[in-house]
Amino acid sequence: MIHSPYLFKSVRVPSVRVRVLVALLPGIAAYVWLSGAAILLQLALASVTALIAEALVLAARRKPLKRFLTDGSALITAWLIALSFPPPAPWWLTVLGTLAAIVAKHFYGDLGKNRFNPAMVGLALMLLACPTTTSHNSPAIFGHLGGTGWPWITLAYLAGGLWLLQQRIITWHMPAAFFGALALISGVFGLLASTQFTQFAGPWFQVLSGGSTLAAFFIVTDPVTGTTTPKGKLIFAAGIGLLTGIIHTLGNYPGGIAFSVLLMNIAAPMIDKHTRPPVFGHKLKHNSGNIATKSTQ
């Protein structure tokens, strides 16, 4: 028997996922405009790989294919991986990365329960497996501002991200905390750079890169593997920002974001547990405050 409520707001998981994909389109357009249509091929390759991998794993796990294939989550993972590699990346890098991401998602608990951001698992694996292919002059997630025109990618990702905010698919907490922490740590290193560590890049160099913006609005904000309480979101995203800045600068390692996200993914449940907002009727200070104001009326 069906119990109350009998009414439902007409929103579905696919529609949330589809809107995230739509929000990525401006960034993709800017990418194509600046570096040619190669990225489209990468996206298509990643998408097909993701769908096939997802279908195979679903079939092996005897799960309904249509329901889970059409939810759009595999496509988001695929697109994020394709956008994170530099455009001259070989096709097998994208395919393997996507494959790893999808399999990892299922290994770590399936949609809704996976602990690690699937796209970042795929990226991290590729970074470790093929360090030479992934690290040179990459303009996207691993990279820095690679020549003229790249601010346009940043702006395009920003536009998509702001639209997600307006659609209430994400909240302001994570992008704000991520950018804030990244700027802070980069600023600290920038100050140090002016004295002795001359090899460090300046703060705005990495804060405003296309990769950072993509991460701030589309990667860090993955609801499944991140935190959900308002305070928890701030801590989680700030942690990723700090770690990314440190890894980029001190380690001079390009995949900082992937490892930072994975590290903070582990901490997410604990952060959520300790940042629960007070429950109705249990905000003692608040309650007594009201009784006090009442008596003075």
């Binding site: 439902f8 809704g112 309480t229 109705f280």
Partner: protein, 522 residues
């Protein structure tokens, strides 16, 4: 908005109220039979006062309250008691409960009744009078002698339901009268009547009635329409800023909230001497003529719904609204005092939810929750049967408003998971309580048996002491007597020690004290 407080969360489903407010409150022809459940309020089940074959008058008490906070039950019309028997209750479980089955005689003849002079009565007398008049929904076991704010709930935020709306439109003066009575009885400093801003006619009628009352302490407050602001806790929050935790006594926080229909029933009981035998019920949903009907308690829902002409594709009856309503096990269950609406459902009106998808922790449920809970975490705990964690995450502060399930993009029946977890926790706590009680009973029995054994021994010793007295008379030497005295004292001390520590008494070496007596004797 000014001076109001807000609560987090809430949802705004389509209200669907207009369909049932187009026509005035109608009355219903007498049904062929009335099935009046005895248990219609929290607390014990009222005891039946009538037997099959008895003739009763309208308003005659047929079930007497079984202590506080149980309430009495009355005949909704005059007629003959056909049976005092188990009948199906208006609850999804479909369980039976004791009912008075009444066949109306068509005369609808009132029992002699008189107004109640609450001004000369004590608080307890008024409370008992209202209890015996069958008034439900006035909260706790006793009335506080002093109250800061009396909140009258006219918010009616649940979609489809308009019974309070129509009652306020048509009988505002009577509601205000009932409100004034309660204000006097409870010595409330102020009365706030909260009505959602989607009921302009009701607001106008109530404001007008309040103005005519001329009491500055009584205010009609228009509040924004956000489901579930009609829940007592949230309405109190919106009007006064006070947060009464779910399940806590409102009067401990200086407030008391009850509905406009209760205020109306209080007016009828006090001013007219009429007990609660009917109520306004909204019949709506998949029907041709949705409207509000004044229905006698015990009328079958089938009889009621027939007046609104349900469409042929109707597939179920829901008691209450679409957010919190209960699906009825069949169409013949009776209207009870808690029936606000009978919602006729159909597959097109309430299509089955799309297949459940995994939770993606999107947080929409958190945004919707008016109790500031983390619904998706509660869902996970319930799913994993981690009940201790669920309790720690304040599962029992959930008011089951359905907001989370309403917004869930994965269409997870979240409230069902909470209901499951709550009932599991209650069952386990009940089982644990039973086990604890059984253990205590067993331990007490052991203690009692031990004590009786000792008492028998003490008696035995006392008897031998009597023998000793006899011995003194016959010239027994003094030292022997002193020895006997010591033996008796030792015995009593040992017995007292054992009684003081029953657990130690179980240890078998407690015969120690007894051994001295025979030795002394010997």
């Amino acid at each position: 908005m000014k001076g109001l407080f807000r609560f987090n969360g809430g949802v705004k489903p389509a209200s669907n109220k207009d369909v049932s407010t187009q026509q005035p409150i109608a009355s219903l022809p007498l049904p062929e039979v009335l099935v009046i459940p005895l248990h219609q309020n929290v607390g014990g089940t009222p005891r039946p006062l009538v037997a099959p074959g008895d003739h009763v008058l309208k308003g005659q008490r047929i079930g007497t309250a079984d202590g506080n906070p149980s309430t009495a039950v009355h005949a909704s019309t005059s007629g003959t008691v056909l049976a005092v028997a188990m009948r199906c209750m208006p609850h999804p479980s479909g369980l039976d409960a004791l009912c008075i089955v009444l066949e109306p005689d068509g005369r609808d003849e009132w029992i002699e009744h008189h107004p109640f002079d609450y001004r000369t009565a004590t608080l307890a007398q008024t409370r008992n009078y209202l209890r015996d008049a069958g008034i439900v929904g006035i909260g706790g076991e006793s009335f506080p002698s002093h109250l800061d704010t009396l909140v009258i709930n006219g918010a009616e935020s649940e979609p489809f339901i308009t019974c309070d709306d129509m009652l306020m439109r048509e009988r505002a003066a009577q509601i205000l009268r009932g409100t004034t009575i309660m204000r006097d009885v409870l010595a409330a400093r102020r009365v706030l009547i909260g009505i959602e801003d989607n009921k302009p006619e009701a607001i106008a009628a109530m404001t007008d009635a309040a103005n005519r009352l001329g009491d500055p302490a009584v205010t009609v407050v228009v509040i924004p329409t956000i489901y579930p602001s009609g829940s007592a806790e949230l309405l109190i929050r919106v009007l006064t800023g006070i947060e009464v935790p779910h399940g806590k006594c409102q009067t401990d926080y200086g407030v008391l909230c009850f509905g406009v229909s209760t205020a109306y029933a209080i007016h009828e009981a006090i001013d007219l001497g009429q007990p609660l035998i009917s109520r306004i019920v909204t019949v709506t949903g998949n029907v041709e003529t949705a409207r509000n009907i004044d229905v006698r308690i015990g009328t079958s829902m089938n009889h009621l719904v027939a007046q609104a002409r349900p469409r042929p594709d109707s597939d179920r009856l829901i008691m209450g609204g679409p957010m919190t309503g209960l699906q009825m096990p069949n169409r013949d269950v009776p209207v009870v005092k808690a029936t606000t609406a009978v919602l006729v459902g159909s597959p097109t009106l309430f299509p089955p939810p799309p297949p459940e998808m995994p939770c993606i922790r999107c947080g929409d449920c958190v945004t919707a929750c008016p109790a500031d809970l983390q619904p998706f975490e509660l869902y996970r705990f319930a799913q994993a049967k981690l009940f201790a964690e669920a309790k720690d995450y304040h599962l029992f502060d959930c008011i089951e408003c359905g907001g989370c399930a309403y917004v869930c993009p994965s269409h997870i029946p979240l409230v069902d998971y909470y209901r499951f977890a709550k009932s599991e926790i209650r069952t386990r706590e009940h089982d644990k309580k039973c086990a604890d009680e059984a253990r205590e009973r067993f331990e007490f029995r052991q203690f009692r048996e031990e004590r009786e054994k000792l008492e028998r021994a003490a008696k035995l010793a006392a008897r031998s002491a009597v023998g000793r007295d006899a011995a003194t008379a016959t010239g027994m030497p003094e030292p022997v007597l002193a020895q006997l005295d010591d033996a008796k004292r030792a015995l009593i001390t040992a017995a007292l020690n054992r009684v003081a520590s029953p657990r130690q008494a179980v240890v078998p070496d407690n015969t120690e004290g007894l051994t001295t007596a025979p030795r002394a004797d010997g």
